[in-house]
């Protein structure tokens, strides 16, 4: 079976020719190829968006957009915040690591295997290396975190300030007058009541 004959009738294929002849009765008389169907879109001409529909859509869109904006801004804020926290944690960790590094000044195991004169040299170099590392670490740590005194200075005023505020209260003239009047009234009332109390107790 030749495929060429099947597609554009070039060459010869006896099998297909037989089939053609046997099915000749059902052959189409129309020689022109059928036209492709025209593209049609279903459109309801009666549908026209009303003003209320438009407004509600606009409102919904605006609400959705603002909500999205809020969510995005919260997300950004959270990311920035976590970044700051990570930075603070890292610096704190650096601090703690630094203190750990300072204490164990151990000689590398390799130096033990070497003969005595070289051991001393190795020890010295190891100490120097560690010292240098420590110094480098100190430089990397921010000054505010590395220096404990500055942290303490920053914290202390926050605790003390409210107490200092409570001692000095600025009053307006009206407030001062009202306060004085109340105190005078209470003083007189108190003294009179005390007088009565003393008199009654004295009589008893």
């Amino acid at each position: 079976m030749k495929e060429d004959y099947l597609w554009d009738k070039t060459g010869k294929d006896s099998e297909i020719e037989k089939l053609e002849n046997s099915l000749q009765a059902f052959r189409s008389t129309n020689t022109t190829p059928p036209a492709l169907p025209a593209k049609t879109f279903a459109f309801d001409k009666g549908f026209v968006p009303t003003k209320t529909a438009r407004r509600s859509f606009q409102f919904a869109f605006a609400a959705f957009a603002s909500l999205a904006l809020v969510i995005i801004s919260i997300g950004v804020f959270q990311i920035v915040r976590t970044d700051d926290q990570d930075l603070a944690q890292n610096s704190a960790e650096q601090m703690s690591n630094k203190t750990i590094v300072e204490k164990p000044i151990s000689v590398p195991e390799e130096s033990k295997e070497i003969s005595e004169p070289t051991i001393t040299k190795a020890k010295f170099t190891a100490k120097r290396q560690i010292k240098r590392r420590v110094v480098k670490d100190k430089k990397q740590v921010p000054t505010k975190i590395s220096d404990n005194k500055t942290i303490a200075k920053d914290i202390k005023p926050k605790v003390v300030k409210p107490e200092q505020k409570s001692e000095t209260v600025i009053l307006t003239e009206e407030e001062q007058y009202a306060y004085d009047q109340l105190m005078t009234a209470l003083a007189i009332t108190s003294s009179k009541l005390k007088l009565v109390k003393d008199k009654v107790q004295g009589l008893e």
Partner: protein, 193 residues
């Protein structure tokens, strides 16, 4: 249905108005009228007149809150429900310089229903008469009245609103309240001169 709602609404409004009126009337009941004492101001040597209520009192209370002090807090707690204090003190140069009927008029206000006598002291020394009355609205004290009359002085104190008398008596000279000792006032050298 509409008429029912309208009537209900009217009834509620009327009830609320009546309640407010009754409450206000009760609050006013504890207040003494000192109008008849105006004539004493000219005759008296020293006059002390203190009226503290309404906005002035609330302002003073706010100051007590503002002053973040332990003593101020105690005073503030003692006068939390206070509605007003009215004080009149008249000191005269000579004995019997005022008309005792004026004070009796004040005392007669305390015989009205609601007032309960708490203390009554009569002393021949300086012809001293002390009356302490309290007014209760239910179980809550709504007013105190102190009337003290002597030969040379009259003192009237009217406190409106719930207040702890014992605590108030102890407040003088202890907290921010200055101590004014009436008994010693006459014995001071300045007075003798």
């Amino acid at each position: 249905m509409k008429t029912f709602i309208n009537h209900s609404f009217k009834f509620i409004v009327l009830s609320a108005f009546m309640l407010i009126t009754i409450t206000a009337a009760n609050a006013q009941d504890a207040r003494l009228r000192f109008d008849n004492l105006k004539g004493l101001e000219d005759r008296a040597r020293d006059v002390v007149e203190v009226n503290i209520d309404g906005k002035l009192l609330s302002l003073a209370k706010r100051v007590l809150v503002k002053v973040n002090d332990q003593d101020a807090k105690k005073v503030g707690e003692a006068i939390k429900g206070l509605e007003g204090i009215y004080v009149r003190i008249y000191n005269f140069e000579n004995a019997n310089e005022y008309n005792i009927a004026d004070i009796d008029l004040i005392r007669s206000q305390l015989t009205l229903p609601g007032w309960v006598k708490l203390a009554n002291v009569r002393s021949k020394k300086n012809n001293q008469k002390i009356d302490v009355y309290t007014m209760f609205t239910g179980d809550v004290m709504s007013g105190v009245a102190v009337v003290i009359s002597e030969d040379k002085s009259i003192a009237l104190v009217n406190v409106i609103g719930p207040i702890d008398i014992d605590l108030l008596a102890e407040l003088g000279g202890k907290l921010n309240i200055p101590r004014i000792d009436i008994e010693n006032e006459e014995e001071t050298p300045q007075d003798k001169e």
